[in-house]
Symmetry: C2
Subunit: 588 residues, 2 copies
Amino acid sequence: MKASQFFISTLKEAPADAEIVSHKLMTRAGFIKKLGAGLYNYMPMGLRTIRKVENIVRDELNKAGCVELVMPVVQPAELWQETGRFEKMGDELLRFKDRHDRDFVIQPTAEEVVTDIARQELRSYRQLPKNFYQIQTKFRDERRPRFGIMRGREFTMKDAYSFDRDVESAGKTYDGMFAAYSRIFQRLGLQFRAVAADTGAIGGDRSHEFQVIADTGEDAIVYCPTSDYAANIELAEAVSLIAQRGAASQAMEKVTTPGKSTCGDVAELLGLPLSQTVKSLVLATDETNDKGEIVESTVWLFLVRGDHELNEVKAGKVQLPDGTGLKAGFRFATEKEIVAHFGTQPGYLGPVKLAQPVKVIADRTVANMADFVCGANDAGFHLRGVNWGRDLPEPDLIADIRNVVEGDPSPDGQGVLAIQRGIEVGHVFYLGTKYSKAMNATFLDVDGKPKHFEMGCYGIGITRILGAAIEQRHDERGIVWPEAIAPFTVVICPVGYDRSEAVKAAADELHAQLLAKGVDVILDDRGERPGAMFADWELIGVPHRVVFGDKGLKEGLAEYQGRQDAEAAKVPVTEVLNHLLSRLQIAG
Amino acid sequence: MKASQFFISTLKEAPADAEIVSHKLMTRAGFIKKLGAGLYNYMPMGLRTIRKVENIVRDELNKAGCVELVMPVVQPAELWQETGRFEKMGDELLRFKDRHDRDFVIQPTAEEVVTDIARQELRSYRQLPKNFYQIQTKFRDERRPRFGIMRGREFTMKDAYSFDRDVESAGKTYDGMFAAYSRIFQRLGLQFRAVAADTGAIGGDRSHEFQVIADTGEDAIVYCPTSDYAANIELAEAVSLIAQRGAASQAMEKVTTPGKSTCGDVAELLGLPLSQTVKSLVLATDETNDKGEIVESTVWLFLVRGDHELNEVKAGKVQLPDGTGLKAGFRFATEKEIVAHFGTQPGYLGPVKLAQPVKVIADRTVANMADFVCGANDAGFHLRGVNWGRDLPEPDLIADIRNVVEGDPSPDGQGVLAIQRGIEVGHVFYLGTKYSKAMNATFLDVDGKPKHFEMGCYGIGITRILGAAIEQRHDERGIVWPEAIAPFTVVICPVGYDRSEAVKAAADELHAQLLAKGVDVILDDRGERPGAMFADWELIGVPHRVVFGDKGLKEGLAEYQGRQDAEAAKVPVTEVLNHLLSRLQIAG
């Protein structure tokens, strides 16, 4: 293609609202153009990359036996009411009424519609397993859209939904999708990691996020460099950092700690390591009646070591031997509740001598501590030399309730954990019968009886991948696209295309030769000066560049430079094609 | 592809709400599946055809120098307010508010957004002409969605928008798009006709509809079989059917015609040809004040011959020598208005002796009539032997205000007109500066001064093409797809695939051979009985079918049948591949 037949638009400055490098570079390089908050035009340059991503995703899913369809952007509320999501989902679900005053949503996902298709179309176990996918526009009315198309409101997503006859078959489907996703991200040319993720109310261990590695990523990824272990921070298991509880060696002592309301302050004051302190966190749960009014609230005390952080996902799953627990809907306790139960204000709380009975949940590490420091439930005072059993009862529950930290032992016993940042671009998830039961979607099994489908769902954020790829691959000059998804693979930059016959001839010939080989090439015939022209293509991030100029051509030379090469290399004009083809691993 | 890896779903019965054959067949063959009123899932089979249509459209537009982008489905109201369309468009424009109570629309087209892009991005005449297009989901909240995806609410449309520096350049762009559209519909394999269409308020002669010919089409297409003339019925020019007005040969006479309120009834009663009668139609226009309240209404009398029909588009364009006219917003007069102006009720109206002064607009043919029959403005009476000049004044305006009929002379003088039915699937339209002026979209021209873009817009109803193709091409067994857009080009039907080694081997081999040649083939390995299997593929409309069975294979024979062939032909197994390739015009 020639640049004059295309549309190239680069900017020197990034827009004021661009906070992250991918948003800045995508806008400056003309990949996207803002239309409104969280709404972006996919400009011609960006659309080329989006299509390449889509085609890789489509190809691998088709090979994995998935079948493509398209479900409407606009969906009737009735189906969403069947699963309760029409009411349950927050303001992110965009709801509206049509001219006849009927309720609709703009799809953020399509579980309801695809389950409706399945319950009508998949009538027999003979038709199973079946995995439908679409690459379709999605909308989430984010309260505060940001980061360009990384967290926009309208975006393009690939969503797949599988239907199996039993758990075993669903497991095989899950594994197949996991493998397909791994191939997809390999082909995209991105460094990624598949990490185990929380399954929430579904349970089980079948949820993985595919994270593109980037220092700027929103998510913390936990992995063991010497084993296969990898999980997101919400899920990664934290073992006890103390092998077993030591014997008490100190008497419990009340110490004055005025104005020292954090573990760090107290440790410093007492000249003790932070790891000798225990942090007290007070959570609360509410019981409601049919009308949604709160009828009773319960307060819970969670203990983690002073240098650790509470993991709220893990906390939400805590269940005591008596069956009570936080379930999903907990909150932090109010100051009033804290004073009522602990007799003091936050900053000096602890598990010893509670004003009111409160269930105590200790992190595994805390449960093994001896001679520790905690609040005295008395403003301006802490206790030191505290020991379980002697100074306070054993905790009601010992559980993994903290985030892992770098250097923690890997839960598989195969090394120590490292943490890196990632951007979630894909998710595979075993749904079980959650949706098929809610919508009574059944098939006739081999015994002739109706049975609910075992389902899975599998998402890939198509447009998000562009942002993630740029966060991972950029330098001070611009984007560094992987070859597979660059908008163009090769750019030919002729210096003086409109005034030198020789330059024009050389550029046109290589352009034609590359097109004949199926290479995605662009010839920049805009007539820009060399500096501006090179800067544009480095900003845009095309992997391979060939420059023809009069001076070089007189010596029979062209210049080749890979996007990541420090310098251009002189290549005989007669060798340029072969040089490129060998770089592109295409037979000459 | 093997059928077991795909999704095939056929129905014996069409849904109750399917009124037309394309809706019935598309549903029965599993191309679409209804989700709600005017909302359809594109099922895997249908999506294959949609993608093939899209790819042909995309290929030809790229060759024509258009550049693809994608504009959001959800668009801010602000831009639509700039052109006034946010208020002016009726309930078909779906409007909604987001969580922050801001107004948005779901795009039915994208003139506003693309003009917003152009006014920011196209700054210099050097960047022109530029033609942006998208293939994107559209939504129109039709009051009464029907005909499946032919008149759905959500649909897929290709919309292109061109930006030129002057009228001459815009004309070249228009011609280029007209040519690209002609190539597109040729490649789609459809019989079509490009017809001149009304340009409404824009004026000029640059509006063409691309109509797929089908007896069941909604639109009447007028064309001259012996010349290039073609126009839609709204636009097609009707010349006078009487060369010049004859002399009066009868005296005017009032005849009693009780209960005969139509021209047909009166002609029969009087024993005269219908073409001797004149039909009186009373239209009205309203003047409104700033608040939109009607302050004055005017009544107009339109006269067409008894066997002709008023053309409302032409009527709306009528302008009298004094500058008055109907403009766009006319209506039929109320009975009260008719009585006030004519002194009688509808059915006996005429232009002779009006109770109140009314401007009279006569069709060209009517103006040349002599000794004609019309209502007497007296209930139960008509006049016969009426003559212009003698019995009533000459009309205030003589104009083309009727629909042409079969056999009318072609306005180019090259023959007579024929009429056929069509389905509009494409439209090319010169917009001029309508949008660029409303949105103040300018570029710097060669003289350094800002100038408004000359624009054009160009639509193709991607999903509508499926319906139109089926209306044109079907038989009692199902759809007859053109090869270019059939969901599969070849189907291999093995009889006993799961029990005969020979059948399986022959089918698998041909399948592999065709795939290697790049042929879009499906092997039906579902294990259906031959009758059901053949019926499915005839319903689906695959152009070429090969059948392998044990009996034939013993004699070294396979069966080939084209979708439109009356019978299957025996072909030696060794020749099947070449037989198919020669039919598909692929080198062996």
